[in-house]
């Protein structure tokens, strides 16, 4: 299977960073997921083969980390934090608002495949709560109205 050139050069470089091959596994899984969208059977088999691991070894690691997924998600994964600092400043209301606007529940994906919604644990934006991460981008000090603007931005981006 083929990944991007950037993926391959980073993978080759990372192998030189550690005394054991499997040490590259966790960051490599996330970079692979960024390219493919999720950790498919094919990705798992490919990385297991490259790192001399069994597919079960790789699956065991995947199931531990909350950012890794073996199921396809929307193009934009909207991650709403509801942990304590966000909870106190409207994180739950923001999640409910997103559920209503997107018409999906926690871990759901919109029918056009554009958005997924996920309730997440603390993302390190406590002093700027409530906060949301869309893929890797932080959006902070949000209100339901500002959230609508954020979602519109991504809809626009998808059309371009």
């Amino acid at each position: 299977m083929r990944f991007s050139d950037q993926f391959e050069s980073r993978f080759t470089e990372m192998l030189t960073h550690y005394p054991t091959k499997r040490s590259v596994l966790v960051p490599t899984l996330l970079y692979a997921q960024d390219e493919v969208g999720y950790l498919s059977e094919e990705v798992i088999a490919e990385l297991a083969g490259r790192l001399d691991l069994t597919e079960l070894d790789v699956r065991n690691v995947i199931s531990y980390y909350s950012m890794l997924t073996t199921k396809p998600r929307g193009k934009f994964n909207v991650q709403v934090c509801t942990n304590i600092a966000c909870l106190l400043r409207g994180g739950e209301e923001l999640l409910a608002h997103c559920e209503e606007k997107l018409g999906v529940g926690n871990k759901g994906t919109t029918s056009d495949g554009l958005f997924s919604l996920e309730e997440v644990e603390c993302i390190g934006a406590c002093s700027w709560a409530p906060a949301v991460q869309v893929n890797y981008d932080f959006h902070e000090n949000l209100t339901p109205e500002k959230m609508d603007g954020v979602l519109d931005e991504y809809r626009k981006r998808a059309r371009q």
Binding site: L25, Y65, E121, G124, A125
Partner: protein, 439 residues
């Protein structure tokens, strides 16, 4: 990009270069960058360790162990390579300070890691950054590449004959990986399950080699200590609590933000002056003083100095510097439930008291909050929590138990107010969510 704030009482050491473009290596050098590394290369390793020990620098990740003392545990001679591991897996709810360090001053972490390496005789350092902080991992990759390009890292640094390699490493979402032994497992490409100790990482760590694991803020403090001296750094704080600390103020405050204040700064002042007090004319109900794993303090327990020893005496912990302020409109049963939901989600399941304890506590608190609680549950919540204490490989079990015990003890009346099918007194009728009842 996270917003920066300031307050006249701030003493900027670690935050000195925030907002000054120091991600650029030339700018960092202009702002006294890499001077401390040069100085350390001319020092005896023991002199570096003593300087850091005497500065009173204590681990900023939460445990608050004397950093120089930790370094001194690394054996002088080792058949296996020694390593420095920077813990940038910042995930403790309420904590968002390492994020600013990586965003504004990544070279300070690099420089601190290299000085730690010289002190203990390591030749390489790994900088582990949590997966959600992808943009910071990108910044760190560039910073490391720039350091190599300038000859500040790699072979023969500054012509000293000393070789030192630096590597970045990204996580993929796991609170528990912030625990030092789980962090090493994760770096080795495994599930972040904790290791039993002894042996401690200083003796047997990464790939079996002696390893020093320090929080990003701890390492970023080190160059300032080498340049300014132990006495100066120690003098900024209180006895045995040297220096300053990045306090992350969040929750019900008028001016939340990350402020660098001297160790021992008064908590009441921190809330009402630095943080601007409680909005909407509300009153203070409780404070989480150092991240969600710390026992909560009530409104009449806040006139104290924010340092490790004072907080310990007050029955809580200074923790990771994440201060979450809770006003009187908040339901403490719900707050306890949200904390427990987090720990249940993050428990790796390795140790039974933690795996089962967090699960049953979340179920009990869920039923309680939705009005299905019985009187016996109140003591049961406390009993279950107490049975997790000290019975797990890593402190995640304690982290779940400690705030819960404190909430039951200090806010028992709020639990009683939920009894006999009464709806949560704090929930607006319209906004009340139906929570599942486990009969």
């Amino acid at each position: 990009m996270a917003e920066l704030v300031s307050h006249p009482d701030e003493v900027r050491v670690v935050a000195k270069r925030f907002g000054m473009g120091a991600t650029n290596i030339d700018r960092y050098v202009e702002l006294d960058g890499y001077k401390a590394l040069r100085k350390a290369l001319g020092m005896q390793p023991d002199a570096i360790i003593n300087e850091v020990k005497n500065s009173g620098l204590r681990g900023r990740g939460g445990a608050g162990f004397n950093t120089g003392l930790k370094w001194s545990f690394v054996p002088k001679v080792s058949a296996k390579p020694k390593y420095i591991l920077c813990n940038g897996d910042e995930s403790e709810p309420g904590t968002c300070k390492d994020r600013l360090i990586f965003e504004h001053d990544p070279h300070a972490v690099i420089e601190g890691a290299m000085i730690a390496g010289i002190a203990v005789g390591a030749r390489s350092a790994y900088i582990y950054i949590r997966g959600e902080y992808r943009y910071l991992l990108d910044i760190m990759q560039k910073a490391i590449a720039d350091a190599y390009a300038k000859g500040f890292a790699g072979k023969n640094i500054f012509g000293s004959g000393y070789d030192f390699d630096l590597y970045w490493h990204g996580g993929a979402g796991a609170y528990e990986v912030g625990e030092e032994s789980a962090l090493m497992e994760s770096l080795e490409g495994k599930r972040g399950v904790p290791r039993i100790r002894p042996p401690f990482p200083a003796v047997v760590g990464l790939w079996g080699g002696p390893t020093v694991i320090n929080n990003a803020e701890t390492l970023a403090s080190v160059p300032h200590i080498i340049l300014g001296g132990a006495e100066w750094f120690a003098g900024l704080g209180t006895p045995k609590n040297g220096g300053t600390r990045l306090f992350c103020l969040s929750g019900h405050l008028n001016q939340p933000g990350v402020y660098e204040l001297p160790m021992g700064y008064n908590l009441k002042k921190m809330i009402y002056d630095v943080g601007g007090g409680i909005p909407n004319g509300r009153k203070l109900k409780a404070v989480v003083p150092g991240g969600s794993s710390c026992p909560l303090l009530t409104a009449d327990e806040i006139d104290l100095a924010m340092d490790f020893d004072t907080l310990m005496k007050a029955g809580s912990m200074l923790g990771s510097g994440g201060l979450v302020v809770v006003d009187d409109s908040t339901c403490m049963v719900k707050f306890a439930l949200r904390i427990m939901k987090f720990y249940r989600h993050e428990s790796c399941g390795w140790c039974i008291p933690c795996r089962e304890g967090t699960d049953w506590l979340e179920k009990t608190l869920t039923r309680f909050h939705s009005g299905g609680g019985i009187k016996k549950d109140i003591d049961n919540i406390q009993y279950l929590s107490e049975n997790m204490l000290g019975r797990t490989f890593c402190p995640l079990g304690d982290a779940a138990a400690l705030p819960t015990i404190s909430i039951v003890k200090k806010f028992r009346k709020e639990f009683e107010d939920h009894l006999e099918g009464k709806p949560c007194p704090f929930e607006k009728a319209s906004a009340a969510r139906q929570l599942p009842v486990f009969a």
